[in-house]
């Protein structure tokens, strides 16, 4: 079932309803929405009259093999993880699947383990489990810091890491962490398993580079050496809201010099971007506020998007400021800075 160009993929129910006919029992009308209307989470457009999920067939597989085979054979199917992004889109009828495949009862898709310097996290691991994981806290401080900024207690209770990566909101904290750590996404499909480097994972706005018949099973995060420094900073209207711009810094400091650096900025483009210029410029240098202030100016030249929350120029400004702050915080230079409070 292909949608019209530039419009959401539609199910047969919708094609009918979109002729402005009433949709059965609820007597509601559906309209075709441009894809750009999807990011309800970042400033709802709410062009809709229906506020109930469309009809679909529900599938409740118990094994991954079963889930893969359902996804490979059913037409216009959607995977359901924590539902914290998909359910609002269903309720608003921005997404109209004929089949929903629920991953919540599939065995063996969650868990956090470390092996060979890599943290492997099952796709169905809840954000709340990451929040309380001692392993994450000890080995991956950036992820630990970032997790508290995702939505709220109730949404983290259900939302998963795999769902967040696949939903791929430009400002999603987990997407930023995956990019900062050069993570790898593990997917399985009818032809077996493959791994995707996170740099290649975003294919476009809210679109991961996975095939329609593939399921993300895990994410692998290569860990930095013990004692490395990490800082996550975001600017949002309120705590718990999606960030307007966010920044993540990782630093390994040996003998007073920066031996390795990672700086990533989220919310500016459709997917987080690595500030390679800054990373190169500070490697080999002694960390200082003056150095960071100087090199982070280059972040103003990132191509930035504009929406109802902020203009492109404002995002570029934030990119420079938050990059500097993230580096200062990671390097321990921001302990007395007024902006460096608990959140």
């Amino acid at each position: 079932m292909s949608g019209r160009p530039g419009l959401l993929r539609l199910g047969p129910n919708c094609e009918k309803a979109c002729d402005e006919k009433a949709d059965g029992e609820e007597g509601t009308h559906l309209r075709l929405l441009p894809v750009a209307a999807v990011p309800y989470t970042r400033g709802c457009l709410c062009i809709r009259t229906a506020m109930k999920p469309p009809a679909f067939q529900y599938h409740d597989p118990k094994t991954l093999t079963e889930a893969v085979s359902l996804l490979g054979t059913l037409d216009n199917a959607k995977l359901l993880a924590g539902g914290q992004s998909l359910m609002p889109m269903l309720n608003m009828r921005f997404v109209l699947p004929d089949h929903v495949i629920d991953l919540n009862r599939v065995e063996g898709m969650s868990g956090i383990k470390e092996a060979g310097g890599t943290l492997e996290i099952g796709a169905m691991t809840r954000q709340r489990d990451l929040e309380f994981s001692d392993l994450v806290k000890a080995k991956c401080p950036l992820l630990h810091q970032a997790i508290m900024h995702i939505g709220h207690r109730q949404t983290r209770n259900r939302g998963t890491i795999g769902g967040s990566l696949c939903h791929l909101d430009p400002a999603a904290e987990l997407v930023l962490v995956a990019m900062a750590h050069d993570a790898t996404v593990v997917v399985v499909g009818p032809n077996g398993t493959r791994e995707i480097a996170f740099a290649d994972f975003p294919a476009g706005y809210l679109t991961p580079a996975i095939e329609l018949n593939e399921i993300v099973t895990a994410i692998r995060i290569p860990l930095w050496p013990a004692g490395h420094k990490a800082a996550f900073i975001e600017f949002a209207r309120r705590h718990g809201d999606f960030a307007i711009v966010s920044a993540a810094a990782l630093l390994q400091i040996d003998g007073g010099k920066i031996a390795r650096a990672s700086l990533t900025i989220g919310g500016v483009a459709v997917a987080p971007v690595r500030a390679a210029e800054v990373e190169n410029a500070i490697t080999g240098q002694a960390p200082s506020t003056a150095l960071f202030a100087k090199v982070c100016e280059s972040c103003r030249s990132f191509e930035a998007m504009a929406d109802i929350h902020a203009s492109a120029e404002y995002r570029q400004h934030l990119a420079a400021v938050l990059s500097r702050r993230a580096l200062e915080k990671a390097a321990g230079l921001a302990d007395n800075a007024p902006w460096n409070r608990a959140h």
């Binding site: 506020m51 067939q57 309720n91 709220h152 207690r153 259900r158």
Partner: protein, 164 residues
Amino acid sequence: MTEKTDLTLRINGRDHSIRVEPRKTLVDAIREDCGLTGTHIGCEHGVCGACTVIVGHEAVRSCLMFAVQARGKPIRTVEGLAQGNTLHPLQRAFMTHHGLQCGFCTPGFLMLAANVLEKNPDIGDEELLDVLSSNLCRCTGYQNIIKAVRAAQEEMKPKVAAAE
């Protein structure tokens, strides 16, 4: 229309056998099929928290879950807070501290606060503020809600300790 499924929801210790379409959200099933209208529906897209209930041992937004997904899991709603004619400490505290005006948001706040105080009885002010900021209230200005939850926290503490 898709085929309806038979399922049993265990709410506040009582089984409700219902027959619903898979697309029915948990909040709609609780209200329409189980007749428990204490849980409110506000935004229906996860933003307001009015529909907060406890599923298993976690507070969740019941508009972001399908009823079929709650099969086999204990559910608690606002109707389950009072013990007979004795109101729950949180309900009393909301009355005493004027934690509600129109009351629309109250069931959501009560279930969120109940879950939080049961899980972390010693929760600090800052964390409590953070947790409560997830639900919307259009009337009270939040201060009285926070006051009420803090007051109930004191009262709930010995009970939680005794129950353990």
